[in-house]
Structure formats: structure tokens, C-alpha cells
């Protein structure tokens, strides 16, 4: 467990309303530097909305937050430079080659040509993708795509990476290789903020928060959560928390 | 049982259409706006053209002619020029479209030498307008010349009288109504049908329909009928508007006209089905119908650019554009009052196209994924 005290994300009473509907209901939490932070919740619990606020795509209705040391309300542009984001359906261009994708993303993050070239080589050899470098993205296997997407999301060495269900539909071996990459990045000090529907993956996180109906109902290490809810597995914790008592929607 | 299935499908299609208010607004709004635009704003008629006069003669003849020019409703004196140098500046100001130059001693020359020179200079940046203006000016001069010659016996002058038949007032809206109707029909029939089918591909509902007992012709028909009704009613609105607001005449048989409309809509609808069988999603369907259908229709059908003025290769290509035949028939029926004896050939061409595309569309559209 990491003992660093510096908070890289700090949210206080963060709220987002769409008309009369409250998608995110005054959530407060901290994420520490270098932490692997699992962000769980049922469909429609407000996860995606919360992430979109944290990466500066949507502005919150009220509350306070700093991400990577920048204020969410006034310095959204600074935040975007210091974070990486990998969407559910990874954002690589299918009709560009591996190396072209890397160059493109390096370019939009303003990496200088020589640095970019170096970084691209580093990235390709780290992933062991030398044989794929000139292959179109649509022709490479899904698992590779996903790993590449993660590396590309981190090409500008961001302080935090947001991963929105990065492993859905991937075979079990690739899924684990993907988590190896996540650990490697975390070891280097990158903070990982990840959502997933695989409950076993939540065990890989340093700390986990569970959102229900726009609120964070639980936040702790997986082992503490299991103790707290008297559960055998995270799956059970999740079910105990997220299964609503009233009408099922 | 079978009929219930089909009507269920139809009901659903109409629901899609009526629920999409924005698209409906565009579909009904667009022809109205276009007709209004063509009717009021865009026109080939000449009115109140600014003319500048460089009168070096300053005699009876030059004054007479100037008066005649200005007393017509077409021209308006913008300025009197004093020298040739000022002509260019006058044109550059953009206000003056034509300059009339009278030579020195014009009257004297006419009476003594029988020849007087008057120069008409026009701003030909817009050649069509320039031609029309020059023709008008010339007509006035010719008129004057005739009056001059009235007293003397010979030379006999051949009088030319120009009349614009079928559209005496040269109203642009007459010409454009058939074109606008065609474009709208193409848009509603081909584009909307193809988009609506492509959307079902995208949402995966088409796959669910494929496992249903619906036959492919039922799906096609179910997609076609609502849009047929829709484009027919939009056509009626367009026609009504042009008749009652702009007094565009329908000289021929209205039922013949509507029959041709039906034929064209069927052609366009089969195009739509054909496109949707190729296009994997709505975006592609839209692009294909825009680039592959709308653009050639607008450019090559004679809607805006007269086919006779096109280079020969384009004229040949225009033959395979269904709208070309349709627009020419519409103009024949509406403006010339032509009957079946005139339009049967064009009708046959269009009918042949409809059959071919319908055949291709039903061949390609299968209740199967590839």
C-alpha cells in the first residue's frame, strides 16, 4: 500500500444535474498519486457522468474539484494536458497504421518530433509490437488494439489516466496482460482511474469506490470493503450495495 | 395473418416518420422556402437596370433615344458620363450595368450619311444578364430606327417581333417549380428511404426483422409506401403553392401530371432501396444519395443548367438521369399543356428505368446478412 499523501484528484460535493435529474449527487473523494483507483457502479449510477466531469468534458453543476492540481472550473484546459483518457470503445483510428496512430496522438499532445519518434519506438518495443508497426489498426487482434490504446493514451506521460471499461469483451489472457500494463504504469507513478464490470478486476485496485444512484456508497480497499459488508468477494459487496430495494429498473 | 403483419409494419413506419418532427419540418419547409425563393428573389427578369449615358452628341437624336431608354420600365439613369475614362469607373462601382455612348455629331451623321453610331457597353461579368440587357437596349434602338424611317419609303425594314411563349413574363418561378418538385421527390423518396433502412441496420433491428416471417418484398413495400405517400403529399403542397401564390399554370391534364409524378417517385424509391442495400450505415446512405443522386440530379437534369448548353459528353450522361426526363415532361405538361401524345416517349424511358431499378433493388435487398 502506498503511503504518499498527495492527492491527485480531490472532489468535494461534486454535482451534476440534467434538468431535474441529478446524475451525480454531491460526491466527495480523494485519489492519491500513483494509486490504482477502481470506480464501480451499476449502469446509470452516474459513473460516466462523473468521469466526464473529471476530464473536463462536462462542467459540474456545483461543487469543487481539483485534478492533477488544477481547478476543474477554471483550469479545465490545463487538466486536459495532464491526463490521459481511454474510452470504452478505444479511440484508435482503424484506417491508420499502428505507427501513424501513435504519431497522431503524440502530435495532438504537442510532443516534439524527436521526442515523439523516441517515444514511439519505446512504446512499440515495450509492447512487443515491432511486427505490427505498419499494420492497419483494423487488421490487428483486439487484444493488441486495447494495449496499444492504453499506451497511446499515456504517450504524453500524463499524471492520471482515466480508463472507461477498458477490458470489456477481451479474452481472459489479454485482460490480464492489460492489467500488467496498468501496474507498470502505476509503478512509474501514473495514477490510474478505472471503471470495470469485471468484479475480479476490482480486486486489483488499491482502492475501490462504488456508486449507487449518483452517490458514492462505499469507498475503501477491497479487503476492507469485504470486511465491512461481511462478504466473500467484491461481487458480493457490489450486489449487496447496488441491488435496489424498491422497484427494479 | 399476413396482412396484419404488413399493416403492423406500415404503422411502425408512419410512427417513425411522424415522430421525427425535425425531419418533417425540413421536408415540408424546404419546398416552400425554395418556391418562395425562386418566386420572389431569384429571377431572370430585367427591371430598373442602372444605365449610364456618355452623350458626346447632345443633339435631338441622342436626347430622344436617351428619353426612350429611360422611359421604359427596364432602365434607370444612374449617371451622365463626361468622357470614356469614366466608363470603367462606372462599371467598377458595380452599380452601372450598361453604358450607352453616343458619337459626336450623331444627328448630323444620320441625316447626311445615313449612318449613326451608338455603342452599347455592358458589364458581362454575369453574361446571362448582360445578354438580356443588351437585347432590351437594342430593341429600343431598333424601335427608334423604325420610327425614324417611317417618313421615308424604302428601305423596307424587316420587323422582328419577339414574344416569349408559355412564359410571357419570363418568370423564373415557372421554370423552377418542376425542378424543385423533382428534387424534393428525389430527397424524400430515395434519401429518406435509404436512411430509414440503414438506420435499422445500425440499431440491429433489421436483424431481428430478418428472423421474422416477414418477406423481403413486405419489408420493401412497407418502407416504400409511407414515403410514397409523404412525397406525394409534399408534391401536392408544392404544386398548390406555386399555383395559388405564383399563378404557375397547369395547362395540361392534372391526372397525367400526377401519374408521371407517381412513376418518378417509384423510380426514386427503388434507388433508395438499392442504396440502402449497399450502405452499411446512415452516414453512408446519406453520402451516397447526396453525391450519387442529388448532385447529378441538380446539375445534369436541366433543372438549373439547360441541357442544350452542356458539352456533348455531359449531354449524353444526362440521358441516364431519370430526373432529366421527368423535368422535361413536367414542363411540357404544366407550361405547354402537352398531352399523352407528346410525353409518351419520355414516359416510356422513365418507366423502363423504374423497372430496371426496381428489379435491381429487389434482387439486392435480401433478408440476409452477407
Amino acid at each position: 500500500m502506498k503511503q504518499e499523501t498527495e492527492n491527485i484528484i480531490e472532489a468535494i460535493d461534486l454535482e451534476k444535474k440534467f434538468g431535474s435529474f441529478t446524475a451525480v449527487n454531491k460526491i466527495s473523494f480523494q485519489v492519491k498519486r500513483g494509486e490504482v483507483f477502481g470506480f464501480l457502479g451499476a449502469n446509470g449510477a452516474g459513473k460516466t457522468t462523473a468521469i466526464k466531469m473529471l476530464i473536463g468534458l462536462w462542467s459540474p453543476t456545483s461543487g469543487k474539484a481539483t485534478v492533477a492540481g488544477y481547478d476543474l472550473f477554471t483550469e479545465a484546459n490545463q487538466i486536459r494536458k495532464n491526463i490521459g483518457y481511454m474510452a470504452q470503445r478505444f479511440s484508435l483510428y482503424e484506417d491508420l497504421t499502428v505507427i501513424e496512430n501513435i504519431q497522431f496522438y503524440g502530435g495532438i499532445y504537442g510532443l516534439r518530433k524527436n521526442i515523439l519518434k523516441e517515444r514511439a519506438e519505446e512504446l512499440i518495443s515495450e509492447l512487443g509490437m515491432e511486427s505490427f508497426r505498419k499494420e492497419l489498426i483494423k487488421n490487428i487482434p483486439l487484444g493488441w488494439k486495447q494495449k496499444l490504446a492504453l499506451s497511446v493514451a499515456m504517450i504524453h506521460k500524463p499524471k492520471i489516466v482515466f480508463l472507461d471499461e477498458p477490458t470489456s469483451g477481451v479474452d481472459p489472457i489479454t485482460r490480464r496482460q492489460f492489467w500488467d500494463l496498468i501496474y507498470k504504469a502505476a509503478e512509474k507513478g501514473t495514477t490510474i482511474f478505472v471503471t470495470t464490470h469485471y468484479m475480479d478486476e476490482s480486486e486489483y485496485c488499491d482502492r475501490v469506490s462504488i456508486m449507487v444512484d449518483g452517490r458514492i456508497e462505499a469507498l475503501d480497499t477491497p479487503s476492507q470493503l469485504k470486511k465491512q459488508f461481511n462478504a466473500e468477494s467484491m461481487d458480493e459487496v457490489f450486489l449487496k450495495l447496488a441491488r435496489p430495494t424498491g422497484i427494479q429498473i | 395473418m399476413n396482412r396484419r403483419r404488413f399493416f403492423g409494419f406500415l404503422q411502425k413506419e408512419f410512427r417513425h416518420i411522424f415522430r421525427d418532427r425535425r425531419t418533417m419540418l425540413i421536408l415540408f419547409g424546404m419546398p416552400i422556402v425554395q418556391i418562395l425563393l425562386f418566386g420572389f428573389a431569384i429571377t431572370n427578369e430585367i427591371k430598373n437596370v442602372n444605365v449610364a449615358v456618355l452623350d458626346k452628341a447632345h443633339d435631338d437624336v441622342s436626347h430622344d433615344i436617351t428619353n426612350r431608354i429611360l422611359s421604359s420600365e427596364y432602365f434607370h439613369l444612374y449617371q451622365n458620363l463626361n468622357s470614356e475614362k469614366e466608363i470603367e469607373t462606372a462599371f467598377q462601382s458595380g452599380k452601372v450595368k450598361v453604358v450607352v455612348v453616343f458619337e459626336n455629331n450623331l444627328a448630323k451623321n444620320i441625316y447626311s450619311k445615313n449612318i449613326g453610331n451608338i455603342q452599347i457597353i455592358s458589364d458581362a461579368t454575369d453574361p446571362n444578364t448582360a445578354n438580356t440587357i443588351v437585347a432590351y437596349t437594342r430593341a429600343i434602338l431598333l424601335n427608334y430606327q423604325q420610327d425614324l424611317n417611317k417618313g421615308s419609303k424604302p428601305p423596307a425594314i424587316i420587323q422582328t417581333e419577339v414574344r416569349m411563349w408559355f412564359n410571357e413574363e419570363l418568370k423564373g418561378v415557372y421554370l423552377f417549380v418542376p425542378g424543385v418538385m423533382t428534387i424534393i421527390m428525389m430527397l424524400v423518396s430515395a434519401m429518406m428511404t435509404s436512411i430509414s433502412l440503414a438506420r435499422e441496420k445500425e440499431t440491429g433491428t433489421l436483424e431481428a426483422l430478418m428472423v421474422s416471417p416477414l418477406k423481403s418484398w413486405q419489408v420493401i413495400l412497407g418502407k416504400v409506401i409511407p414515403y410514397l405517400v409523404l412525397s406525394f403529399s409534399i408534391t401536392l403542397v408544392t404544386l398548390g403553392l406555386s399555383m395559388f401564390v405564383f399563378h404557375v399554370p397547369i395547362r395540361g391534364n392534372i391526372f397525367l401530371l400526377l401519374g408521371e409524378v407517381l412513376l418518378f417517385v417509384i423510380t426514386a424509391l427503388s434507388f433508395g432501396i438499392l442504396i440502402s442495400s449497399i450502405a452499411p450505415n446512415q452516414m453512408a446512405a446519406m453520402l451516397i444519395s447526396m453525391m450519387g443522386l442529388m448532385l447529378p440530379t441538380i446539375i445534369l437534369s436541366g433543372y438549373i443548367f439547360p441541357i442544350d448548353n452542356m458539352p456533348v459528353p455531359l449531354q449524353v450522361i444526362s440521358n441516364i438521369i431519370p430526373a432529366r426526363w421527368f423535368i422535361s415532361m413536367l414542363r411540357d405538361i404544366m407550361l405547354k399543356g402537352a398531352g399523352w401524345s407528346v410525353v409518351w416517349k419520355d414516359t416510356c424511358v422513365l418507366a423502363f428505368m423504374a423497372v430496371v431499378f426496381l428489379f435491381l433493388a429487389s434482387r439486392r435487398f435480401k433478408m440476409k446478412l452477407r
Binding site: 487482434p141 490480464r176 464490470h197 429498473i249 | 403492423g8 446478412l369
Partner: protein, 303 residues
């Protein structure tokens, strides 16, 4: 037992890639049969072929006694829920259901008993447009639409993908109850943990079936010992564990690491001792029964 689906050597290629490579299996009446495999394994293609939405390159199948060629007969007997919940977003819940009923030549009233249990939960929202429903609700409505014509065999293509664990669990409970009514259900999923919900599963990867059996049998057949290991410092453990001799593979499983070892070599004492040497504390080392995911990865490595 009565076989409802018998597939023989179904093969399908898209350009150069083989989506399905001579796939054969059979599903019994009233069975809940799962196809488990990652994206791109060929599950969707297989379902499309079996519902006659797509033609196979070669091979054939009998669906409720009819050959795939007999499209009309097959189509009227199957219910199919494609991967994306195939609903009309601009139609309301009720309109969607009524539409599918009409298209299949029936009415909602006629077969209401089949969907009643699922539909009652949607009923309060019956006038809401389908596009405005949550993922879990869409999934339930799509299931109702696939059931409304009382099919004999139900094909569900990844009905739980992207749906949260709560909705997923509920969905499987619904399938369990549907099965009781005698319906034969074929369902595909990328989630390995859902295998235990099925009577039998086919593990599928790259167009090939790796194994078919009841989930309990598949896990029993696992030839190696699975040793679950945990310590106070998992990060260090992940590296140290690679030095354990005779380990066939090491994978993370939730809070544990799973080491697969040949049965004759495995010894929890040896591993425990090794970990102590490396300075690990609060270690937990135990031989456990293999899960479907262990088996799947083992079969993937072998193939």
C-alpha cells in the same frame, strides 16, 4: 434426449479470416446452453447462421428439426436477440412490443403469459421511448420482444455485455425461469463467470470450440493443480511468483494469484517456504478447484 439444435461442421470465412472453423455441437430440449468466449471468437456469426440471418460457407444444422435451408420453418421457430439490443429508440416500450408481436403474426395478449414476469417490471414505463431506457431495461424489453411469438428455441447474442453485475445476475435468473417452461436457450457471453449459470457450455475461441461440457465437468477435467496464493505485498508477489519452479502459468484472479502446476510437482509447503524466504508475510497458499476461466486460459495456451 430430444435434440433441438444439431450443428455439423459449420464453417464461415470473411475474406481471409476464418470466423467459424467446422463447428459442431448439439443442444437438448429445455437446455440452457452457453457459448463462452471473447469478442471476435465467432459467437455472433454462429448465431446469425443458426437463425438463418446469414449463410454458412459449408456445414448445416437442424433447428427444431428443420434444416437451415428451410428458412421459413426455422425463422418461425426461433427467437433471436441480436448483440445490440435491437429496439426502435423512437417507439415506446409498448409500441416496440406490439410491433414485434404483429410482425410475427400474433398479439401481446395472446402470449402475455410468457413475458408477464419480465414485462411487469417494464409496465410502469410502457409509454417511455425505448431510447430513453437504462441498459438493464433495454435488455429486458429486447428479451420480451424476442419471446413474444412463443419461440421454441431462443438465441441470445451477448445479452449481458456492458450491463452491470446486478442486472446481469437478474437476467440470468430470468433465463433460469424461462428454461423451466421447456424453452431451449442458446446464449453467448464474454463473461467467464456466467458459465456456471448454464447447463452446458461451449468454450469458443477464434472460430473453434475448445471444449463442450457441463461447467462442472470442464473444471473437473482440468489436468493441473490450481494453487491460489496471496500475501501482504501483492505487487512484490507478482514478481516473486514467477521464480517458482515448475509453474505452468501464473495469472491474477481477484485478490489471489493462480499458479497452475502439474499435479505431481505441486506442493503448497514448497511455495509457502519459498514465499517466506522472499520476505512475504500473512501468506495464504491453497490448492483450489479450477474455475472456467482457468480452464479457458489453459485451453487457449494449448491451442
Amino acid at each position: 434426449m430430444n435434440e433441438r439444435v444439431i450443428a455439423t461442421n459449420i464453417t464461415k470465412s470473411f475474406r481471409s479470416t476464418k470466423a467459424l472453423d467446422a463447428v459442431s455441437f448439439s443442444v437438448n430440449e429445455g437446455e440452457l446452453f452457453g457459448f463462452i468466449g471473447p469478442d471476435g471468437a465467432g459467437k455472433s456469426t454462429l448465431f446469425r447462421i443458426l437463425t438463418t440471418v446469414m449463410n454458412a460457407d459449408s456445414g448445416d444444422a437442424l433447428v427444431d428439426g428443420f434444416h437451415l435451408k428451410d428458412e421459413i420453418a426455422v425463422r418461425s421457430r426461433v427467437g433471436y436477440m441480436p448483440g445490440k439490443f435491437s429496439l426502435y429508440p423512437d417507439l415506446s416500450v409498448q409500441e416496440n412490443l406490439e410491433f414485434f408481436a404483429k410482425v410475427f403474426g400474433t398479439t401481446v395478449q395472446e402470449n402475455y403469459s410468457i413475458i408477464k414476469e419480465i414485462y411487469v417490471r417494464l409496465e410502469p414505463f410502457k409509454d417511455r421511448r425505448a431510447g430513453k431506457l437504462s441498459g438493464g431495461m433495454k435488455q429486458k424489453l429486447a428479451l420480451c420482444c424476442a419471446l413474444i411469438h412463443k419461440p421454441r428455441v431462443l438465441f441470445l447474442d451477448e445479452p449481458t455485455t456492458g450491463v452491470d453485475p446486478v442486472s446481469r445476475r437478474e437476467f440470468w435468473e430470468m433465463l433460469g425461469r424461462l428454461k423451466q417452461s421447456g424453452l431451449t436457450i442458446l446464449v453467448s457471453t464474454p463473461y467467464m463467470d456466467e458459465a456456471s449459470r448454464c447447463d452446458r457450455v461451449a468454450l469458443i475461441q477464434k472460430g473453434k470450440i475448445l471444449d463442450i461440457d457441463p461447467p462442472g465437468v470442464i473444471t473437473k477435467k482440468f489436468p493441473l493443480h490450481v494453487i491460489a496464493v496471496k500475501s501482504d505485498n501483492m505487487q512484490k508477489l507478482r514478481k516473486d511468483i514467477l521464480k517458482v519452479e515448475d509453474a505452468e502459468s501464473v495469472y491474477g484472479f481477484g485478490e489471489f494469484l493462480h499458479i497452475a502446476m502439474k499435479k505431481e510437482n505441486s506442493s503448497t509447503e514448497k511455495i509457502e517456504f519459498f514465499l517466506k524466504q522472499q520476505g512475504h508475510q500473512h501468506t495464504e497458499v491453497k490448492i483450489i478447484e479450477a474455475g472456467i476461466e482457468d480452464c479457458f486460459m489453459h485451453l487457449m495456451e494449448k491451442s
